[in-house]
């Protein structure tokens, strides 16, 4: 199953929830937001949303920034 995460293709053997995906990468879900196929995924549904082959995910977090890009 091929899934694009932050612009890079990842291969997963089995289907998994967003919650499980974050766990696999060691990401604290309270610090990120996820967009799946251009739609925001509510945090409360991470354990119910199962990622599919061909999904495009964006996982973002806050970094230092201000008046400069």
């Amino acid at each position: 199953m091929l899934v694009t995460i932050n612009g890079k293709i990842h291969n997963f053997k089995t289907s998994l929830s967003l919650e499980a995906l974050l766990k696999e990468f060691g990401i604290d879900h309270s610090k990120v937001a996820i967009e799946r196929n251009l739609e925001i995924v509510p945090k409360s549904t991470y354990d119910q949303i199962i990622i599919n082959d061909g999904d495009k995910l964006e996982i973002v977090y806050f970094i230092g920034g201000g008046a400069l890009s």
Binding site: K8, V32, E58, V60, F62, A67, S69
Partner: protein, 260 residues
């Protein structure tokens, strides 16, 4: 700061009229100390893809907490309506922030805002119940259009982002201040403390800066200077400066001189 002179933005009340960015510091520790020294209560933050290969490395939120500061997600680096709106929707999902800073840039070299796209993005975001503080050009007509759309703060540039040129547009800033019924904050262009004071003396409600502190030789000392300069400028504005005159007006009595 005088106690009974808070800044009101989108129904929220702030003691400090200085807003600061969190980018371009040497490291997170220096950033945290400098921001504390600035007295700022609102800090801008950017939204970027997480590094999947090393997600455990230190994060901004490990050094400054959303419990201590109002995080103001911004769209720095966005050049299209779509990117700006997507970015702020993601930011809202991270922690539920509705108060955001919108900027839609139009030119790589000057990072000058694209006002047509900024207006479109502001409309979409306000419809989606965001409270939008908006980075804009110093054109009073566009500033008014943004205010009429429902933006909660108008943030014109004093000079290009990161240029440190100071306030280059006294007349335009003053025109925007005089017409606005929402707070006007200078966003971009400040180089040193006196620039921030001038912005406040012009009647701006606040100043947002990042580079002038983060890239100073000693950011912590400069953060202190900026805090004081914003306060000084605000007090001078409230105090009401004397009019400028072409001729002298002695400060000592002109009668009772020994030569009389």
């Amino acid at each position: 700061m005088i106690d009974d002179d808070p800044l009101f933005v989108a129904g929220r009340q702030f003691r400090s009229r200085l807003l600061v960015g969190t980018g371009k510091y040497k490291d997170f520790s220096e950033m945290a100390v400098a921001i504390k020294a600035s007295g700022a209560q609102i800090v801008t933050v950017a939204i970027r893809r997480i590094n999947l290969t090393d997600p455990t490395k230190p994060m901004l939120v490990d050094y400054i907490s959303p419990k201590d500061y109002i995080f103001l997600p911004n769209t720095a680096g966005c050049f299209t309506v779509d990117d700006a709106v997507r970015t702020l929707r993601l930011a809202r999902e991270i922690g539920g922030w509705n108060l955001v800073k919108l900027e839609v840039l139009g030119d790589q070299k000057s990072l000058y805002p694209n006002m047509i796209e900024t207006l479109k993005a502001a409309e979409i975001l306000i419809e989606d119940e965001f409270q939008v503080m908006v980075y804009c050009t110093d054109d009073p007509v566009f500033a008014k259009k943004l205010e009429n759309l429902g933006c909660c703060a108008i943030m014109p540039l004093g000079a290009p982002i990161g240029s440190g040129l100071g306030i280059q547009n006294y007349m335009n800033i003053r025109l925007i201040v005089e017409q606005a019924k929402v707070p006007v904050l200078i966003d971009a262009g400040v180089g040193t403390a006196s620039d921030a004071t001038i912005a406040m003396e012009l009647g701006c409600d606040g100043v947002l800066m990042n580079t002038a502190i983060a890239q100073a030789k000693n950011p912590i000392v400069m953060a202190n200077a900026m805090r004081l300069s914003v306060e000084a400028g605000r007090l001078a504005y409230l105090g009401g400066r004397i009019p400028k005159k072409f001729y002298t007006n002695p400060s000592s009595p002109v009668t009772g001189l020994i030569s009389e």
